[in-house]
């Protein structure tokens, strides 16, 4: 009884804490752990310059003699101790991971944002207009789905490089990467938004807006978009994990960000060259970080999908 008669909290935060979704979050240990892990990684990446003990991209602070120092052991020549060891150039692995996660997360978020914007726009148009516009957009989407998205990202990356003068290639690489990953992932958003739009556009609240002659763009953005965002947020969360992995894959293949600005994928590529010569730490720690990041974001997405699905409650 007392549970039922608890006073409803007031204020924005109080109401958010009291909401169904917050309750479902508190009830799910997996979601809490995943949220804590991703939060630590994201904060570490964002505040990398403050946290990292060394600046791995300042050649002046690097000492080649420090190269290949194992974790927690003093270097044979300099006596320096590094938590997670150093790589071939004497860069502190812990610091490179922090900076690498920064690049990975930036590319991931930006690519998801790009894919989301593109997918939502095209999905809304296809779903609302219907007819040949819908057919055209969805056939393009179908064709794109027949290619593995990583292959498509490789293609876009290659084509874009052909258009960019060599002097700008290094500076533009990260943006090209974002566009390439974004373009290869928009289909998911477009399909979901199109389906939801087709359901929403026939609802009477949309008809009420049409009766008073509201502009179609206004109807799409103000009426339909807020009602189709639920599933989009779920795909976006899982899409973030996918984009981070896609970025790592491309960087691992050597077509991603330049080695002067290594992401987690680049670090793994560098590390795998030394795996068989016994310097396991250069590969292992970036890999664990990537795994933890992708897994925790993915688990969060899974939880969000279940929490927002009324049929699974």
């Amino acid at each position: 009884m007392t549970e039922l008669h608890k006073p409803r909290p007031t204020g924005r935060f109080g109401r958010a804490w009291d909401s169904d979704i917050a309750y479902s979050f508190r009830q799910s240990p997996v979601a809490v752990v995943a949220a804590v892990v991703s939060l630590i990684l994201i904060l570490g990446a964002v505040f990398a310059p403050l946290i990292a003990p060394y600046d791995p991209f300042n050649p002046a602070s690097l000492n080649l003699m420090d190269g290949f120092t194992p974790p927690m052991e003093p270097n044979a020549f300099t006596g320096n101790v590094y938590w997670l060891g150093t790589d071939n150039q004497g860069r502190d692995v812990f610091s490179t991971i922090l900076y690498g996660a920064r690049i990975s997360l930036f590319v991931g978020f930006a690519a998801v944002l790009f894919a989301m914007t593109l997918g939502i726009t095209l999905g809304l148009i296809a779903g609302y207009r219907g007819g040949w516009v819908d057919s055209l957009l969805m056939r393009v989407a179908d064709v794109q789905l027949t290619f593995p998205s990583i292959l498509l990202a490789l293609l876009i990356f290659g084509v874009a490089r052909g258009f960019i003068p060599p002097a700008y290639r290094e500076a533009m690489a990260i943006w090209v990467l974002i566009v390439a990953i974004g373009l290869s992932e928009w289909v998911q958003y477009a399909r979901v938004v199109r389906g939801a739009t087709m359901v929403e556009k026939n609802k009477e609240y949309v008809q009420a807006a049409r009766v008073i002659g509201a502009h179609p763009v206004k109807i799409l953005l103000r009426h339909i978009l807020p009602n189709v965002m639920g599933p989009v947020l779920v795909i976006a969360t899982i899409g973030l994990a996918l984009a981070i992995i896609a970025e790592a894959t491309l960087s691992f293949l050597g077509v991603g960000v330049p080695p002067t600005q290594p992401s987690l994928g680049t670090l793994i590529r560098i590390g795998q060259q030394y795996l068989f010569s016994g310097e396991w730490w250069i590969l292992l720690f970036p890999s664990i970080t990537l795994l933890a990041l992708a897994l925790s974001v993915n688990l969060l997405g899974d939880w969000l999908r279940d929490a927002l699905n009324p049929r699974l409650r």
């Binding site: 009477e204 002659g213 502009h215």
Partner: protein, 333 residues
Amino acid sequence: MTDTPLLQVSGLTRYFDVSKPWLNRVLEREEKQFLTAAADVDFEIKRGETFALVGESGSGKSTIAKMIVGLVDPSRGRILFDGQEMRFEQGAAMRQLRRRFQMIFQDPFASLNPRWRVGSIIAEPIRTFGIASGADINREVGRLLEVVGLSAADAEKFPHEFSGGQRQRIAIARALSSKPEFIVCDEPTSALDVSVQAQILNLMRDLQDEFGLTYLLISHDLSVVRHMANRIGVLYLGRLVEEADAKRLFTEPQHPYTRMLLDAVPDLALSGRRRKPVTGEIPNPITPPSGCTFHPRCPLVVDICKQQVPAVRTTPTGRAACHLLEESALSSS
């Protein structure tokens, strides 16, 4: 000026293309198929009156309502609002016209955007037509909420915090917010509990008296229609089969279909009168029967009914489309 009807509908017709996709048609050697939702519907609504359209499901009631407010384009026919032809496109003249009519929908759970606060929902027509701005909007929304029997503080809430009847009140407040003269009510009470239906209907009547509104009421419920309407049009398979003064339609139905509908109404007085049950079902509108579309169900059917579409004839109570009316066979039967 006052004797021009507020709404004139003439020859209103709508086909829906229900054909299979082109490839299937070619492979299966099928013709294109059309569903006739409304065929040559004519009627007029005078200022201040309530005109009701009744009919079974699939008789085209809602399609006609949607054509009048521009949600569905007519295939043929004209809609004149206060003497001006309605052309549903963007433009200043149409905006002026749109301000003067509104619509109330059937399902109050779908007709309010679940993500919007009630205040924004009611203010949407005010903002779209630029009727008021700033703090005036909030004052107007509060006033409208009180007009429909809610409290001004409800503007801060979301639709899911209200019951069906309260939501329909919100929908009515939204319809009133652009100060319209004419409101199309598409089954405004059929999604509500019986006890709430009467409240909403009485509210609608009070508002009609207060603001001089004209209603087009779409309903399948004859008791609702009897309570509300001045004149009634009976639809069957997209055709208007009878139109009459509301009181006399119930006492002196002219068309056999109207009689069948009235016979089917259960009465709580339990008069014990013998009722003829409604026989048959509404035919498939893709392949309507020849001649008078009602002939397969009509108890008085004669040969001519199967061959010719009956013309509309003037009756003592209004108009009706039936071959038998001329010989006054109905009144003697």
